[in-house]
């Protein structure tokens, strides 16, 4: 009796429960959807802001303005044809150690102290044998001075062993010009890092190859 009389009540209750459950699910879905829409709106607003800022930056940094700054302050100009390199090969050429013509230049190699038997050595620089019969070895005496005969500047380059006791003079005569005597110490003081770069004759003193390369490439550029 009780079961059949309450059947309808149960039916209604279960229907209502199911409907409520469905509704809750759909409510949940709707709220998720709303949250998603909110995020989407935020994204769009952010995009709009980005666009606005981009426009502002673009307007402030417009090409005409950059050009004006360039004319007034920076003064940059278009690169000339020579400033373009063909490739790795041309780039490597910029950093070559030294022009070869230094070998052909008349080179006076060394000067010795008063008691030393060899005052000068003529000819291309080459390694002197270590005799060992003197207090000062030939290696210590070997100084290299060279003249670069490139036309615009007859520049004297000298490398020193940096022994303060040794008096060294570098005497160079390019094309029968009047000999210019240069006190090498002064020279060294004036141009401290200018090594004679002679790739064939390893110099007795460390010639700071890295500095040389950097300097050469700097000049070539």
């Amino acid at each position: 009796m009780s079961g059949s009389s309450f059947r309808s009540v149960f039916m209604v209750a279960s229907c209502a429960g199911a409907a409520l459950g469905c509704y809750l699910v759909s409510l949940r879905v709707a709220s998720e959807r709303a949250a998603l829409e909110e995020v989407e709106t935020e994204i769009v607003m952010a995009q709009r802001d980005i666009r606005l800022l981009q426009t502002e930056i673009g307007t402030r940094g417009r090409l005409a303005q950059l050009e004006r700054w360039n004319v007034k302050v920076l003064a940059l100009s278009a690169p000339a044809a020579d400033q373009f390199l063909e490739g790795g090969f041309a780039l490597a050429r910029l950093t070559r150690p030294a022009p070869q013509d230094q070998l052909e230049a008349p080179v006076v190699l060394a000067a010795a102290p008063a008691d030393a038997p060899k005052p000068t050595v003529q000819g291309a620089p080459q390694r002197q044998a270590d005799n060992g019969d003197e207090g000062v070895s030939a290696r210590d005496l070997l100084n290299v001075a060279s003249l670069r005969t490139s036309p615009p500047s007859n520049r004297v380059t000298a490398n020193l062993t940096a022994r303060p006791a040794t008096t060294v003079t570098a005497d160079l005569k390019p094309k029968a010009a009047p000999p210019r005597k240069l006190a090498a110490n002064d020279l060294a003081a004036a141009k401290p890092a200018r090594p004679a770069a002679d790739p064939l004759a390893p110099l007795p003193t460390p010639a700071k190859p890295t500095t040389a390369t950097a300097k050469e490439s700097g000049k070539a550029r």
Partner: protein
């Protein structure tokens, strides 16, 4: 509603088994009840269904006015690299509602004059007392001004946002892009041509991408403006074009125009000299005449000799030269020294019919097919095309075309001889290269390279040379028709000449001589340097590698040039 429905309708009929009328009345009542209930249930079901539908698919109360995508009010215009050239942004508008004012009107008028001095106190006061509903005080107001007006705290002053067209690069390519009126309708340039596409909701989310490159445009504009100032010219025009696709990479017309405030520009500034202006461009036509003659077979080689007296009288007109030969000279020499007399004879040999036919095929007798509305009608001798006319047309007089025509003509001549319509839209998948038609033979096109390079290396256009970029081209200085003392100087150049890729046309309107040019005002002195400077700047951007070792084969022409003419 505790489910009595089935009991009323069908259950326990034995209890309703009454007699006579009563039974009938009851049956009728049942029917009515049944009907009413069905209606009731139906309505409930409808409402429930609707609620469920809304719960599942509908909007909720807290939903904002949906901004679901970023579609501008009017489409963007971009350059070929994607840089914006025209954009629509929300701008501030300051309005006045005289009827909503609550403060002291005189006080407000005074404050407004202080903030916006374009009107005086009396004017503002008159507006407030006019009884009208609304005035625009300022459209496109700056944020600082909006803030200041807001600080007045007057409800009668409204601050609104409305879409506004902004050209971030200001005057850059202004004549190409064009501008809009206050209501956002395109009235010039691309804005006008593509107004529908830019304004329609369905298509405005896609930007219009132009073939213009802002960097190249800027370089051209800057150099041209400098020259225009130096030589006190009244105007100038310049075009850079890709000869293989017909894309216009830069097109400028000076004096400058700021499209953000186009209404403030003078009519002179709004005039597009590059497409709307037509000019007798003078000697820049000579290469066409030579190419026509070569194509038709009247010139067999650049060594063909013509008698070049100091002046030539034809039909009552005297043709003269700036560098008279007074002897027989070869085609190469005629071109190198830009001899009118020689070219006139070449054109005469060619004949009117063939000349007109070639000009027609190059598009010189019609308006340019470019995507602008501002296009000038070219002027030609028309029906009156006789010997004198064909001679003068041969060296660029008696025919007036726009600088764009000239650029297209040079592109035709050097891309292998195929005419292609110039375009302002970037060539890509949506916009393929225009179909062309052949005008000159490939052989003619090839041979002309050396001839034009000769003009720059040895002839009148020496100052146009940009070292390493192999510029070839032709100078042109034409007297103005209405005043023979005024000149239009132009230079049409192509680079790199050993493998032509780009054409550049530069024109100055009425340049004057300066001390640096020793008083000369012909093209070789004022326009040619512009070409040199511009090419040095733009060629690296265009991917043209400078190479001093490469040259077109000049031996084909140099052997026909007499050495004693060298200066």
């Amino acid at each position: 509603m505790n489910a009595p429905t089935p009991a009323l309708v069908a259950a326990r009929p034995e209890r309703l088994r009454l007699v006579g009328q009563r039974r009938q009345i009851l049956a009728m009542m049942h029917q009515r009840l049944m009907l009413g209930m069905l209606v009731y249930v139906g309505i409930i079901a409808l409402i429930v269904a609707r609620i469920l539908y809304l719960a599942v698919f509908g909007d909720h109360a807290g939903r904002q006015g949906a901004i679901t995508s970023l579609i501008p009010e009017r489409g963007d215009i971009l350059d070929r690299d994607g840089q914006p050239l025209a954009r629509t942004i929300d701008a501030w508008t300051i309005g006045l509602h005289p009827n909503k004012l609550i403060g002291d009107k005189l006080e407000i008028a005074r404050a407004l004059t202080r903030l916006m001095p374009e009107r005086d106190e009396a004017a503002y006061f008159a507006m407030m007392r006019s009884g009208k509903n609304f005035f625009y005080l300022r459209r496109r107001a700056s944020p600082a001004l909006v803030e200041a007006v807001n600080a007045l705290g007057e409800p009668g002053l409204s601050l609104d946002r409305e879409p506004d067209r902004l050209y971030p690069q200001t005057s850059l390519a202004a004549h190409v892009i064009g501008y809009t009126d206050v209501d956002g309708n395109g009235v010039a340039g691309i804005e006008r041509t593509y107004d529908k596409q830019l304004a329609t909701a369905a298509t405005r989310n896609l930007p219009v991408q132009l073939s213009i490159s802002s960097r190249i445009q800027q370089a051209l504009e800057h150099e041209l403006l400098a020259a225009m100032t130096t030589y006190s010219a009244i105007g100038a025009a310049g075009i850079v074009m890709d000869i293989h696709t017909g894309e216009v990479l830069a097109m400028t017309s000076l004096p400058q125009l700021n499209p953000n405030a186009a209404g403030q520009g003078s009519p002179e500034a709004r005039f597009n000299r590059a497409t709307l202006g037509v000019y007798e461009l003078g000697s820049t036509f000579k290469p066409f005449t030579v190419a026509m003659a070569m194509d038709s077979g009247t010139i067999k080689s650049f060594g063909q000799m013509y008698n070049c007296p100091k002046s030539l009288s034809v039909g009552g007109r005297t043709i003269g030269d700036t560098h008279p030969f007074g002897r027989a000279c070869s085609v190469a020499e005629i071109m190198k020294e830009s001899s009118n007399i020689g070219t006139a004879q070449i054109a005469d040999q060619l004949g009117t019919a063939r000349q007109r036919d070639f000009l027609k095929k190059m598009g010189f007798l019609d308006r340019s097919p470019i995507e602008l509305s501002e296009k000038g009608r070219t002027l030609s001798p028309g029906a009156n095309w006789n010997q004198v006319e064909r001679m003068t047309v041969g060296f660029g007089h008696g025919i007036a075309v726009s600088p764009l025509h000239l650029a297209t003509g040079y592109a035709t001549l050097f891309n292998g001889g195929v005419y292609r319509a110039p375009t302002l839209l970037k060539v890509g998948r949506d916009h393929p290269v225009a179909k062309g038609h052949r005008v000159f033979s490939e052989d003619t096109s090839y041979k002309m390279r050396a001839l034009l390079r000769l003009v720059v290396t040895h002839g009148t256009g020496k100052k146009a040379d940009a070292p390493g970029y192999r510029v070839g081209g032709k100078t042109g200085s034409a007297e103005k028709y209405h005043n023979k003392s005024l000149l239009v100087t132009s230079f049409a150049g192509v680079f790199p000449m050993d493998e032509p890729r780009y054409v550049i046309v530069v024109m100055l309107d009425e340049p004057k001589g300066t001390a640096e040019t020793y008083g000369f005002r012909t093209a070789g002195w004022n326009v040619a340097p512009v070409v040199s400077k511009t090419i040095s700047r733009i060629a690296p951007m265009l991917g043209v590698r400078p190479d001093k070792a490469r040259e077109p084969n000049l031996a084909e022409v140099l052997r026909f040039v007499r050495e004693d003419l060298e200066q």
